[in-house]
């Protein structure tokens, strides 16, 4: 970052501070001339810069890019059909020519199943978090803004869900909705709304007492304006950090739901369902059986690492 003279600083040495004044001698204004020009950097520009300077973050981003990217390009990357397999070549080990990651118990190519499965698992991980973030933020922010009785009632309703462990609640909701990936998405969204609303409520309460909110109100802005323009951008960071840590958990629980038969049904190549169907073959080809589990693990860990780095990167203090 080079240091440059402030553009146009010359003209300011000779003109007065305010119009209609006698020119103030140059040495009086020396504090301004010596001010160095700094590249304006928005808050998010600063966050990105800090994120990319963190090795963990770069590694996590790289890992996730590979996983997400290859899942997205599954159609391009493999010639095999993930649903129909050749039973005569079942349970081939890793490194078999033609099936680089082996085949499963129905002779389906593992690599293609894993990549297509990635689409399902990632969707089951990300979509519930996005839905829960939208609804949870609304609930939490409104609860904090309304305060007193209304806010308290709202938050106590959210608290009721803490009586159940997340996975039990997810199982209960998913089983009542029937099988299929959409029921696990709905179940997970419901499970994640209360914790996000808590984070949103506390973040909003913290922001509401800042002086810039008072300043916004004495500009004449009404409540809606204040919340939209001034409050929401400031509660975004803590909510985003928390939500990103939930993605890993969401993928895990979605896989668990499929594993017990509640989420994606076979022959869908979802990672959890794959683990379930490969389980009997664990003594025959353990490496192949472990593959979906490995991917669940890597994706979860990747999102968790990213979430931790994001928390540090978003914590921009004054220079």
């Amino acid at each position: 970052m080079g240091v440059q003279a402030l553009p146009g600083s010359d003209e300011f040495s000779h003109s007065g501070l305010l119009d209609g004044h006698a020119a103030i001698p140059a040495d009086v204004l020396h504090w301004r001339d010596s001010e160095q020009s700094v590249t304006p950097r928005s808050y998010y520009g600063e966050v990105v810069r800090r994120l990319l300077a963190d090795r963990t973050a770069v590694f996590a981003l790289g890992l996730l890019l590979v996983i997400v990217g290859s899942s997205a390009l599954a159609m391009v990357l493999t010639p095999y059909d993930p649903i129909v397999g050749d039973v005569s070549s079942r349970l081939r080990p890793i490194g078999t020519p033609g099936h680089i990651l082996g085949t499963d118990e129905q002779g389906r190519d593992m690599l293609s199943r894993l990549l297509y499965g990635g689409q399902l698992s990632l969707l089951a991980g990300i979509i519930p978090v996005m839905i829960a973030t939208t609804i949870g933020t609304l609930v939490g922010a409104v609860a904090a803004y309304m305060g007193k009785a209304t806010g308290a009632i709202l938050m106590r309703i959210m608290d009721m869900s803490y009586a159940f462990p997340a996975i039990l609640l997810a199982i209960a909701i998913a089983s009542s909705l029937g099988a299929g990936i959409s029921s696990s998405i709905v179940a997970l969204s419901i499970v994640f709304i209360p914790p996000i609303s808590r984070v949103a409520e506390s973040a909003t309460r913290h922001v509401m007492v800042q002086e810039y909110i008072e300043a916004a109100r004495i500009s004449g802005a009404n409540t809606l304006w204040v919340i939209g323009d001034q409050v929401l951008p400031n509660i975004f960071s803590p909510i985003f950090v928390y939500a990103s840590s939930l993605v890993g958990l969401s993928i895990l629980i979605a896989s668990a739901l499929s594993f017990i038969g509640l989420g994606s049904a076979p022959p869908a190549p979802e990672w959890g369902a794959m683990l379930s169907s490969l389980r009997p073959s664990v003594y025959t080809q353990p490496a192949v059986v472990a593959l979906p589990g490995l991917l669940i693990f890597l994706t979860s860990v990747g999102f968790n690492m990213l979430s931790t780095s994001l928390r540090d990167a978003l914590d921009v203090k004054h220079s």
């Binding site: 700094v38 004449g220 400031n234």
Partner: protein, 340 residues
């Protein structure tokens, strides 16, 4: 070495009521309900019967300890809080009933903490332009006026694209001032505008405020707990204690001839820079009473060196022992009562 150019103090405004006050505050009260336990309720009497007038073009200083109600008074006038009782009149109109958008074009406020009074997610330009956006200025007007305001407060117009975390406290306070001036108000309430800044920066910002007052014909209500700062900035001063005004007079008169015992104690507590002039012994005893349960009668009586029996019985009214010098103290009970 920079040359310090001291601006001349503007002449004191007419001390008679020849000019009409631009802002009149009459008998302002504010009580905050508090929970003292599961079922007990209490009330904090933060502002109790405050009245004053502000004349156009002057700087009215309000000075007092932390917790005396100065900031609450400021927020009551700005209608950030609603008063429990009392009237606020701006330019002969009832400020309590005025349309908010109209009121905020006439009266604005500069806040104390530069770091928390600017929105960290918006650029400096967006922060300054927000009031204009709310009042539907068009984007060209906003851009032009933001540049003008930045120049007026001594910053380069390029600063509009910087973000708060890239600026220092002194610069952010200038941004605060620029935002307060965005709608061209006539009255600006400065709530401890320099308390959070270093001494050297304080001087710069105070001089800036003085220049702006002269060039833009502003009226200031200047709130501070720092007596030196108030003396430098104000034409008239109000001294507040525990939610009440105890003395009000011209600034130099206050420092030359303080009448209320509390004012005398406050002034004697200013540390002297000359080591031969040690801070004298007029110490005030005890802690400031809790506003939950203020002393009966005169609220200062529990710490007053000249307390008498009658001080506990009733609250002293404002008297005018000298021209334009009002005190609320039984020591001056025989004097002419102030009409307010």
């Amino acid at each position: 070495m920079p040359v310090v150019v001291a601006p001349e103090r503007p002449a004191a405004p007419p001390t008679t009521t020849a000019a009409e006050p631009i802002l009149k505050v009459a008998d302002l009260h504010k009580t905050f309900p508090v929970k003292l336990g599961m079922f007990k309720r209490g009330a904090v009497s933060a502002v109790n019967g405050v009245s004053f007038d502000v004349y156009p073009g002057e700087t009215l200083g309000i000075v007092g300890e932390s917790g005396c109600g100065k900031s609450t008074t400021a927020r009551l006038i700005m209608r950030l809080i609603d008063p429990t009782a009392g009237d606020i009149t701006f330019d002969s109109e009832d400020a309590r009933k005025m349309n908010r958008l109209v009121l905020y074009r006439r009266m604005q406020m500069v806040f104390q903490d530069p770091y928390s009074s600017v929105n960290p997610r918006m650029s400096i330009g967006e922060n300054i332009a927000f009031p204009m956006k709310v009042h539907s200025y068009d984007s060209d007007q906003m851009r032009e006026r933001t540049a003008t305001l930045l120049r007026q407060v001594g910053l380069h117009p390029n600063h509009a694209s910087y973000f708060p975390h890239q600026m220092s406290g002194g610069q952010l306070q200038r941004v605060n001032i620029a935002r307060a001036l965005a709608l061209e108000p006539k009255v600006v309430i400065c709530d401890e505008p320099v308390s959070a800044l270093d001494k050297s920066i304080q001087a710069q910002v105070l001089n800036l405020l003085k220049d702006l007052q002269r060039d833009l014909n502003l009226t200031y209500i200047f709130i501070s707990h720092d007596l030196n700062v108030v003396e430098y900035m104000s034409d008239r001063v109000l001294v507040m204690y525990l939610g009440q005004v105890v003395e009000s007079c011209a600034s130099d008169e206050l420092y030359r001839n303080p009448l209320h015992p509390y004012t005398k104690v406050l002034l004697s507590s200013i540390p002297k820079t000359d080591p031969d002039e040690r801070t004298s012994g007029e110490q005030v005893s005890g802690e400031i009473p809790s506003p939950l349960n203020p002393p009966s009668g005169c609220r200062f009586r529990t710490r007053c060196p000249s307390a008498m029996a009658m001080c506990a019985e009733s609250r002293p009214l404002m008297r005018q022992p000298n021209a334009d010098h009002n005190v609320a103290c039984f020591l001056y009970e025989s004097e002419v009562p102030t009409h307010a």
